[in-house]
Amino acid sequence: MADGPVQARGLRKRFGEFEAVRGIDVDVAQGEVFGFLGPNGAGKSSTMRMIACVSPRSDGTLQVLGLDPDLQGPRIRARIGVVPQQDNLDNELTVRENLEIYGRYFGLSRRHVKARAAELLEFAQLTERADDAVEPLSGGMKRRLTIARSLVNDPELLLLDEPTTGLDPQARHLLWERLYQLKRRGVTQIITTHYMDEAEQLCDRLVVMDGGLIVAEGTPAELIRRWAGREVVELRFLPERRPSVAELEPHVDRVEELPDRVLLYTSDGEAAQSAVHRAGLRPESALVRRSTLEDVFLRLTGRTLVD
């Protein structure tokens, strides 16, 4: 992993008094999809901006595609693609022009960007809207166009900051499929996301960030095994009948209290559910399910994702 596309040691980012990233080590391997998970303000976007060479680091070392962003920013940016959190398409240009002109910013020839734009329109399923204005496109279409735009320079590394936030389920699934195609072509991807299902779907490996630090690292399966256990029992009680954590703890490995529910972590959900029942506790509803990344997240950051 020594010469992966992104390598960071002790990476920090300060904005005045506030330290957004407080010393993180990151190694992204060639061809993998690497995820940054974390609540708002965890430092994900600051990290992404440093990798994208649009935000100078405050401390530590950083190598992107083997080069130092402080010294070789434009050279690195020529070889990466960036999908920002908010679409920043050029509303004064058509769909096709958005791709062609953007390609010209990279110094690509007129002929080359023309051909590339046609390919990318196909990839983004926007060929029929090629000569339309950008404004009337749906959210999903704009997002696909932004992703297509990020590919105009045939990047070796693609940075996606919350690629599917605000999209409906169909649009998300279509985007995931496109990202999977890119992975199969060998494009290394770094993704930040709020969505655990997205991380499980897309990421080969991920880190969980909280308060500017990396609090866990691994494949989705490893993280679930290590931090959440196998199964979860979700119990909902009427407020006046809600038992204390101490009453529940003897029956399971660990208890997590949420505002509306109690989560019991255990290796055997059915058994735990019966144990709770035998103890005379009467939940309004009970659900046994497999642990997910969401549970890992809750445990590590002590809060739900949607905050």
Binding site: F15, R49, A52, C53, V54, S55, P56, D70, L71, Q72, G73, P74, R75, R77, A78, R79, V82, P84, Q86, N88, L89, D90, N91, E92, L93, E97, I101, Y102, R104, Y105, F106, G107, L108, H112, S150, N153, D154
Partner: protein, 274 residues
């Protein structure tokens, strides 16, 4: 796939912070020209304003005023007096509008410059490209207005041909300073300050009447204003009263352009590359 290496850059450019200039600001011109293809009517309307002023003031008010002393004291018609003033003012207005309102929108709302900085382009490419576009537009308006002046018989000297490049320099300087000022603005309210700076200059910097109407102390104030120097420059050229003093006016705009450009490039970098 071939990615062109950035072109070799001149010495002056290498003094800028690393990565702030890729030598590709003409791609921003390409972008603006492409966008302008759909808004040509708006752009064309920029021609009309100074022409309307010329008709209303020059022909209308001029019939009451008669003639005024020209730069060398020889009387000229009121229309011939204000036409170079309007030429200078339209160079200023066009450049200021483009480099303040339009740039602010792209900077704060559409995040267009953020998108550009994700490519090898740097803040200096953006500053130069946007100012260059304001300049092209200003040049277009100036040539249009000069044509109107020629047709109306208000150009009395071949020196008037130089009024076009002079108008471009004036536009460049105003655009550079406008962009620098925009980088300090926080909200749309701040743009009232732009109007507050531009409108009095338009009215009082000898566009419509000679400097001699002011008391001496006010003359000194007016002589410091950039539009005053632009008007002097244009009036000298279009009436053919050319003297070395015009070089002083030119120098004023060269300095103004360089300061504006340096501040704009630096500030854009500070705002966008945080």
């Amino acid at each position: 796939m071939t990615l062109a290496d950035p072109p070799r850059l001149p010495v002056l450019v290498r003094l800028l912070p690393a990565g702030s200039y890729a030598g590709r600001s003409r791609m921003l011109l390409l972008r603006s020209a492409t966008a302008a293809r759909r808004t040509w009517l708006v752009i064309l309307s920029g021609f009309a304003e100074p022409v309307f002023y010329l008709i209303a003031m020059g022909a209308g008010l001029g019939s009451l005023v008669g003639s005024l002393p020209g730069p060398d004291g020889v009387p000229i018609s009121y229309a011939a007096f204000i036409a170079p003033g309007l030429l200078a003012a339209s160079a200023m207005n066009g450049a200021v509008f483009d480099s303040t309102f339009n740039v602010f929108f792209k900077l704060r709302h559409s995040k267009l410059y953020d998108a550009m900085l994700a490519t090898p382009l740097g803040p200096v490419d953006i500053a130069l490209g946007e100012i260059g576009w304001a300049l092209l537009r200003g040049g277009l308006y100036a040539s249009g207005f000069l044509t109107v002046m020629a047709v109306a018989g208000l150009l009395t000297s071949p020196w008037a041909l130089l009024a076009l490049p002079a108008a471009l320099l004036v536009a460049f300087a105003f655009a550079a300073v406008g962009m620098a000022a925009t980088s300090f603005m926080r909200s749309w309210q701040d743009f009232d300050l732009v109007t507050l700076a531009v409108l009095p200059m338009f009215l009082f910097a000898t566009t419509f009447f000679p400097l001699s109407v002011y008391p001496r102390w006010l003359q000194l104030v007016v002589e410091c204003l950039p539009l005053f120097h632009a008007v002097e420059l244009m009036r000298g050229l279009t009436t053919g009263v050319v003297h070395l003093g015009l070089l002083g006016h030119l120098a004023y705009f060269v300095v103004m352009a360089l300061i504006g450009l340096a501040v704009a490039g630096r500030r854009l970098g500070a705002l966008l590359l945080r």
